[in-house]
Symmetry: C2
Subunit: 117 residues, 2 copies
């Protein structure tokens, strides 16, 4: 079940429908990890165009959709922009410590020189 | 770089070559999560045939290979059996708390009735 009610409202899984496997899959890509890391670094929603990912626009759109459909981010239209925010409350409630451990692991990997930015 | 030196020795990434993205991908499948959960539940290496996964043998072999090539498990031949063990020391050293948070999340999801066993 999703919460979309109009073409301008994007489909999101409800908290109870978020699956661990889908969240781990969403987090298993370096571009999507950059998005999650960036959203986790500040309190404000960010537009898709804020992220200067080194991929095509359609690939970037795909990455945001995977993050949204897995329940990792919420996307809301503001005018013609899609604004993105991390669903930290939902993820922390469902899977305590998971998001933080992934973000910590990402930082450690980056510090070790293995993370392409 | 891998440590394979003979056809009977299977390729494994060294600790320093284990990538967060690959580990998350390996953990993003329900069958592979069953394997990881089972290996994490006891101290002993277990043969592939110990796991009665509801998939074909070739799919099962694929799942074990993904786990091995990502660095999540170590596979060693014993006679004609492949024995599997979790690389917990390597994972905990690289990504502290990650494996435990995934196992905890899996248990919570199972308790909520969402995990097919």
């Amino acid at each position: 079940m999703d919460t979309a009610t109009s073409p301008r409202e994007l489909a999101h899984p409800e908290r109870g429908d978020i699956r661990l496997e889908a969240v781990l899959h969403a987090l298993s890509d370096p571009m999507r990890l950059i998005v999650v890391h960036t959203l986790a670094s500040g309190p404000d929603p960010l537009s898709c165009s804020y992220f200067d990912l080194p991929v095509t626009k359609s690939t970037s759109t795909h990455h945001f959709r995977v993050l949204r459909e897995s329940g990792v981010i919420r996307q809301i239209y503001q005018g013609t922009s899609k604004m993105n925010e991390l669903r930290r409350d939902d993820l922390d409630a469902l899977f305590p410590g998971l998001l933080d451990s992934v973000l910590t692991a990402l930082a450690r990997q980056a510090a070790a020189g293995g993370h392409r930015r």
